[in-house]
Every structure is written in structure tokens, then in C-alpha cells.
């Protein structure tokens, strides 16, 4: 029997070699290759790449864990992170593809005929992407430290080098095809243990159905009923009932949906396909591929929760299995025998509860808790790395394109040659990786909190400007710029006040505006953005005729041009 660690080295090693091989094979030769993979990616490949790009360490590791501990309340992530694709496919992707440029600020700058608008969009895009990428590097570090037993910082640096290698060399082209491979790795890694455990617990090989099925022990009790029973016994809420306010659930879900549709690294993927038709189709395929994981995650959450409770609750500490001790070493699972009876009391009441489990370890520990073979555990580690690296690479590309294309080429050095711009893009990717790595090694306390808020920022700033740019011909630069600035400032203010405590002490939840948490406030800031944009637009001059013609033009799919090298 090979140990988990040996298996992990083998599987992670093979997948890394694969990614690097693909990067060398598909390196970029021009800025068009670097920014949009030459504009000739097939809808299926783009769908897979989008899915991998989208599903980050948060989707792969954290989400099922969070749902596992919050039950129904965790639904905000499931609906929020998938529903955004409907908006993307119906309201954004086809038109932006028709418009046919390289980046989101490109669209905003041209549609609003203003370099001020472009710069505001660049700032928003950078803010969103950097908050997001730091969390990914951290995820890489956690996996390395637990499964390969290297220091977290060494893990982050190894991750940086890998990403640097294929993002800098291959640009969008390299990233796209590595992401296709990464999608396969991560979905396989997520599904194998889920199917195993589903069979173990319910006898049903399809986790989506298994979670609603009866237990395998012949008792005829439904798994969810059993979990509700266990939860109430220990003083927790019923698993299938929520504890959050309806209005907050609504606001968070909406902010995540709209934020998804406004995330630059997701939008930019739709610039890489050939036709408008392909943009719609690949959004559908992307969601289908994402849905495989997103409908399995709640099942994994249920299985993990039941297994955890049954393994630890009221059992002697000395008899705890090996995984328990292993995770204790990482500090992500802690046991404090408050009543010194040598048993683990795991209950809702914080006074007598003795076990703290970080939600992030649920997916990683799940195969061990269920006693699955070592190679499955190693596979999960490789899947998690695939999820984190693919998202990090996509984000880094957005950051480097924002700098080299939107700032250097479009504003500071319009005469720069294609070769020069490509070099600038590569250099800014290097700088971006180093900054991201720095945040991974020295995470400022607020990183974890801010990742969820990146969605709020995207919802509050970019989404309204893009939507109005397509659907409201009369929208002008004054309206869009003031909307973006007010929207993102309001969101930043609310975050600073209610989440990060930068403006004095963080006020309690009872003081939230309209009862909406900082995570859900992006919805409010988005509405404010829309209102400000429309009001300001009303009192200022209509956009020039040629801009109105651009809008007319992006509304019909025919006559797509692939983005040309010289603008």
C-alpha cells in the first residue's frame, strides 16, 4: 500500500507536468494570442476553460464545507454562483463578443468615448481581481502544507512559479488550454469521492439523488431527515431550514449573481470564441459543466456533515481516527476537552462545545473521514490545486491585460508596437504574480473577508455600466462614470464600516442598512449605481451619433470582426 503522500506526489506531479507541457505547446506569438487566444477557441473548449476559470479554490474546497455547516443558508452560494451565468449568457456575452475587443475596460472606454471611463473601469477591474487572486494563492498553500508537508509559504511559491510559467509564456492561449485540462482534473477529483460516499451511505451512485435518498442501513430513514434529527439533537438549526433573514438571503444571492456577470476574468473568456453564436453556446456549456460540481457540492455537504457528526460526537478522544489527528496538526481542527471527560462534545452551544472545525477542511478531509483509498485523497489534492491555479491564472491575465493594454497601449503609449505591448503584457503578468504571491505569503487579515466582497464590488461598478451600454442607447459618459464611481465608493464604504472595521469599531448586525449584510450590499450599491447613472444621463448631453451606431451594431450578431491587432 502506498501512502497518501506518495500518491499525492505522483498525481500532482503528473498534472503539473501536463499543464506545463500544454503551456509550451500553446505559447502566444502576438498580443491577440496573449489577450484572447487568437479569437478562435471552440465553444466546448471555451466552456471548459470558463468553468475551470470560474471554479476556484472557494468553489472546490470552501463551498461544500460552508454549506455543510450552514445547511439551507449555504444555498446563496449555489444559486448566486450559477444564476449569474443566465445574466451573462442573455445580457452580456453575445454583445460583448460582437463588440470584439480585448478587455472589459476596452468596452467601457470605447462605448463611453472617454479615457476617464476607461481608467475608472481599469481601477474597478484591478480592485476586483486582486482581492480575488490573493485567496487563490492561499488555497494553493493550504493544500501543499497538508498533503505534501511543505511549509505553506513554500507551497505558495511553488504555485507562483507554475502559474508564472504558463501565464507569462502562453497568455490567454496557454491559459485556455491548460484550463481545459484543469477542468477535467478538478471535476474528476470532485466527483470520484462524492460517488464513492454516496454509494456508501445511500446505495445510490448519483450524489444529487443520493442526498435525497434513504440510508443504506435498511432503516428506511431519509438521509436528510436523519441529518435534521442529528442537528436538532445537538442544538443546531434543522439542516434544511434557514436561520438568516429572507431579505439578506435575497440580497446576497443577487449580489453574487450580478457580481459573477460583472467579473472581468469571466467576461473576457467570451472574447475568445469565433462568433456571437458561439458566445451564447459556450456560456450554456460553461454553466452545464459548472452545474455538475455545483449540484454535487450540496450532496457532499450532507454526506460530510452526517459522517462528521457520527464519527466524533460523544466518542472518546483517544479513539479518534488518524485524519482527526492529522488535521489537528494544521490547526484547522481543534479539540478542547472542557469538561475533561475524554470525549468529544460537538454541540451548538459555544460554552460546552469542544470541537472547532474550519469549514475549509470538509472537502479535503471527506475522503479520509469516509475511509476511501489513498489515491482518492491524493486526487482531491490535485483537483484543488487545479481549481486554484486555473482561477489564479485567469485573474492574472485580466490584471496584466488591464495594465498593458488599457493603460499602457490605450492611454500612455498609443504608439507602442505589437511586440512592445506583448512584452509589457508579460512583464505586468510577472509583477502581478509577485504581488499575488506576496499576499498569499503575508495575507492581510482582511483577505478572506474580502474575497466574498469582490462580487459586491463587481456588481456595484462594472455590471450596470456594461448593461446600460448595451441596452440603453442614450446612456452617456457622464452617467456611466458617475454611476461607477458612486457605486464602488458606496460598496467600499459599507465594507470598510461594517466588515473591516476601518472606520472605528465594526457596528453590530442590528445596525446594517435594511438588514443587509456587507456580502449582500453589492445589490444595493448596484441599484444606486443604476439610479445615479440614469439621473445624471438625463441632465447631460446624449452620446455622439457614431457611438449610438456602435450600440445598434452590437445588437445584431452578423458581421463579427475578430479583434484586429492595430486599432
Amino acid at each position: 500500500m502506498m501512502s497518501v503522500q506518495v500518491w499525492t506526489y505522483i498525481i500532482v506531479g503528473i498534472t503539473f507536468a501536463l499543464y506545463i507541457g500544454i503551456a509550451i505547446w500553446s505559447r502566444a506569438g502576438s498580443t491577440k494570442d496573449f489577450y484572447v487566444a487568437g479569437g478562435g477557441v471552440s465553444p466546448l473548449a471555451n466552456g471548459m476553460a470558463t468553468a475551470a476559470d470560474w471554479m476556484s479554490a472557494a468553489s472546490f474546497i470552501s463551498m461544500a464545507g460552508i454549506i455543510s455547516f450552514t445547511g439551507y443558508d449555504g444555498s446563496v452560494y449555489l444559486m448566486g454562483w450559477t444564476g449569474g451565468y443566465v445574466l451573462l449568457a442573455l445580457l452580456l456575452a453575445p454583445y460583448l463578443r460582437k463588440f470584439g475587443k480585448f478587455t472589459v475596460p476596452d468596452f467601457i472606454g470605447d462605448r463611453y468615448y472617454s479615457n476617464t471611463a476607461r481608467i475608472v473601469a481599469v481601477v474597478c477591474a484591478l480592485l476586483v481581481s486582486f482581492t480575488y487572486v490573493a485567496g487563490q494563492m492561499r488555497g494553493v498553500g493550504v493544500v501543499f502544507s497538508r498533503f505534501l508537508e511543505v511549509d505553506i509559504n513554500t507551497g505558495v511559491i511553488i504555485g507562483m512559479i507554475i502559474v508564472l510559467f504558463y501565464a507569462v509564456l502562453g497568455g490567454m492561449k496557454g491559459i485556455t488550454y491548460t484550463q481545459v485540462a484543469q477542468y477535467c482534473v478538478l471535476i474528476f477529483a470532485f466527483m470520484v469521492p462524492a460517488i464513492f460516499i454516496s454509494i456508501q451511505m445511500t446505495g445510490n451512485p448519483i450524489p444529487q439523488l443520493g442526498m435525497g435518498d434513504t440510508l443504506n442501513d435498511g432503516s428506511g430513514v431519509y438521509l436528510l431527515e436523519k441529518l435534521n434529527g442529528l442537528s436538532t439533537e445537538l442544538g443546531f438549526n434543522e439542516y434544511t431550514e434557514g436561520s438568516k433573514d429572507r431579505i439578506d438571503i435575497f440580497a446576497i444571492t443577487l449580489a453574487l449573481m450580478v457580481g459573477t456577470a460583472g467579473l472581468p476574468h469571466v467576461i473576457v473568456r467570451f472574447f475568445t470564441v469565433k462568433k456571437v453564436k458561439d458566445a451564447r453556446k459556450s456560456a450554456g456549456l460553461a454553466l452545464l459543466l459548472i452545474a455538475i460540481l455545483y449540484t454535487t457540492a450540496p450532496a457532499v455537504a450532507v454526506f460530510a456533515r452526517v459522517n462528521l457528526i457520527e464519527t466524533v460526537s460523544d466518542k472518546p478522544y483517544d479513539g479518534m481516527p488518524e485524519w482527526f489527528k492529522n488535521w489537528e496538526k494544521t490547526g484547522l481542527l481543534t479539540f478542547d476537552d472542557k469538561n475533561s471527560d475524554g470525549k468529544v462534545q460537538y454541540v451548538a452551544d459555544a460554552q460546552i462545545n469542544e470541537l472547532e472545525v474550519d469549514p475549509d477542511i470538509m472537502v479535503l478531509a471527506n475522503p479520509e473521514i469516509a475511509n476511501l483509498p489513498a489515491w482518492v485523497i491524493a486526487l482531491v489534492a490535485a483537483g484543488c490545486l487545479a481549481a486554484a491555479l486555473s482561477t489564479a491564472a485567469g485573474l492574472l491575465l485580466v490584471i496584466s491585460a488591464s495594465v498593458s493594454h488599457d493603460l499602457i497601449k490605450k492611454i500612455f503609449m498609443p504608439t507602442i508596437s505589437d511586440k512592445g505591448e506583448l512584452l509589457a503584457a508579460r512583464l505586468s503578468a510577472v509583477v502581478a504574480v509577485c504581488v499575488a504571491g506576496y499576499f498569499g505569503v503575508n495575507p492581510p487579515g482582511f483577505v478572506a473577508a474580502v474575497v466574498a466582497l469582490a462580487f459586491g464590488l463587481a456588481a456595484a461598478s462594472l455590471f450596470p455600466a456594461i448593461i446600460l451600454g448595451i441596452f440603453y442607447k442614450r446612456m452617456n459618459k457622464e452617467g456611466a462614470i458617475s454611476g461607477m464611481i458612486v457605486g464602488i465608493s458606496l460598496m467600499l464604504f459599507y465594507m470598510a464600516k461594517f466588515k473591516l472595521g476601518w472606520l472605528g469599531e465594526t457596528p453590530p448586525a442590528s445596525e446594517w442598512w435594511f438588514g443587509i449584510s456587507p456580502e449582500g450590499f453589492g445589490s444595493v450599491a448596484m441599484v444606486v449605481n443604476f439610479m445615479v447613472s440614469l439621473t445624471v444621463c438625463r441632465f447631460t448631453a446624449a452620446p455622439p451619433q457614431e457611438v449610438q451606431e456602435i450600440v445598434e451594431n452590437i445588437r445584431i450578431p452578423s458581421g463579427v470582426s475578430t479583434p484586429s491587432v492595430s486599432h
Binding site: I67, L78, V86, T214, Y222, L224, T253, R280, I556, P557
Partner: protein, 85 residues
């Protein structure tokens, strides 16, 4: 048909599709999965309380179906107006 008029007609039909599909999108996720979840939880399909199922499973399936419906409708519309690229 004049290119301009047909473009406007095409856009109008597109907006109609969008409003219908987005109405379904909103109803299924926020209606069934959030606002009426407690009422729906009184019903069960197999082991799932219905509202909980919509929030964690059903809404996602519906999202996928909605996008492919839109793809189908728009491909047909593009063909009808000769706007295929």
C-alpha cells in the same frame, strides 16, 4: 426588408425573449428558492423538502435549461432575419 427596420424588429423580439426567460429565472431562484421556501418545504419529493430542493438543486437545473432555450431561440431568430455570422 430594410436593414434598419429588420434590425429593430429583431431587437424587439430579442427583448421579448429576454423578459420571459429572466422572469422565469427570477421566479425559480428568488421566488421558489428564497421567498416561498418555507411554504414549499411542506411538500416533499423523495427525501427532499421541496423549497430546499429548489434552492440547492432545482434552480441550477433550470438555469442551464434557460440558457440553452435562449441559444435555441436566438439561433432560430438569427436565421429568420439572416443575421447569422
Amino acid at each position: 426588408m430594410d436593414q434598419n427596420i429588420s434590425a429593430q424588429k429583431y431587437w424587439k423580439i430579442n427583448l421579448k425573449y429576454l423578459s420571459i426567460l429572466l422572469f422565469i429565472w427570477f421566479t425559480c431562484s428568488f421566488g421558489l428558492g428564497v421567498f416561498f421556501v418555507e411554504e414549499l418545504n411542506n411538500f416533499k419529493i423523495s427525501g427532499f423538502p421541496l423549497g430546499f430542493w429548489f434552492a440547492q438543486q432545482g434552480s441550477i437545473y433550470i438555469f442551464v435549461i434557460l440558457i440553452f432555450t435562449y441559444v435555441f431561440l436566438m439561433n432560430r431568430l438569427d436565421k429568420r432575419f439572416g443575421f447569422e455570422d
